[in-house]
Amino acid sequence: MKWGSLSEFLAMGGYGFYVWLSFGTTALCMVWEVLMLRRRQGTALRTESSEEGVNH
């Protein structure tokens, strides 16, 4: 392991802002996409089951 301490790790040799913003935004985008899809799926499934209740 090349990092002496946590603060050294977070500093990323002075490039912490760029590195963490890159990885942070990527993680955020992925989590957001998954959450949005779960919502969309929930809505689609709810409509599906409620319509079946009407049809049968």
């Binding site: 040799g13 590195v19 990885f23 899809l37 599906e48």
Partner: protein, 254 residues
Amino acid sequence: MSESRVTWSKYSAPQALYPLAGKLIPWCAGASILFMVAGLYLGFFVAPTDFQQGDAYRIIFVHVPAAWMSMFLYVVMALWAGLGLGLKARPSFMMAQAIAPTGAMFTFLALLTGALWGKPTWGAWWVWDARLTSELILLFLYLGVMLLHASIDDLRRADRASALFALVGVVNVPIIYFSVRWWNTLHQGASVSMTAAPKMAATMLTAMLLMTVGFWMYSIAVILVRLRCVMLERSRQTRSSQSAFEQGVKEVRP
């Protein structure tokens, strides 16, 4: 979520694809997490600091996989679009429709992480060089495909128009890929190529490839989830228009 609640048999939707996608999703999601954790560990704790760029280079572990996915997903989307046009197959159009948002997201991320890497190493967030400009065009192409599909009410026409748009736009992908060779760009050349030995340390390369596989698995998982959403939404749309039609028939002939 239960498969039995969805009754495909009554409607002409693809019966086999929906449960198959459902079976694949958890495996791809699990694999994606494993590969990304391994890639991040290797990238942050094992890979050495770059002698030229310091630790700023670590952005590569997210920038290059995102950029690769942005191009790769466009090609796959265009293939499905072309297949849909050629075979008049609705599932192919649904695949293309499911891929576009994830491709657009990775294009955005490639541009953003590129800017965040460019600032400390080039001294500029953005330059109008061939690589960056063609990647920006890729983002517009993705958005164009999505907007075109959303703006046409008739589903069949929306499918065909956006597929044609996607297919024409695919010429941009080789332009992005070869831009660093064809033009004098500020963007560095390929670190990894099919013909030459990689110009980077083995641990860096391994971390980057692990992240790429992770992004790949992630993409398959979310695209399949979106595909299932699209299938459900479309089957409902056809049913509601069908019942509206039947209603209309009843009203005309009571």
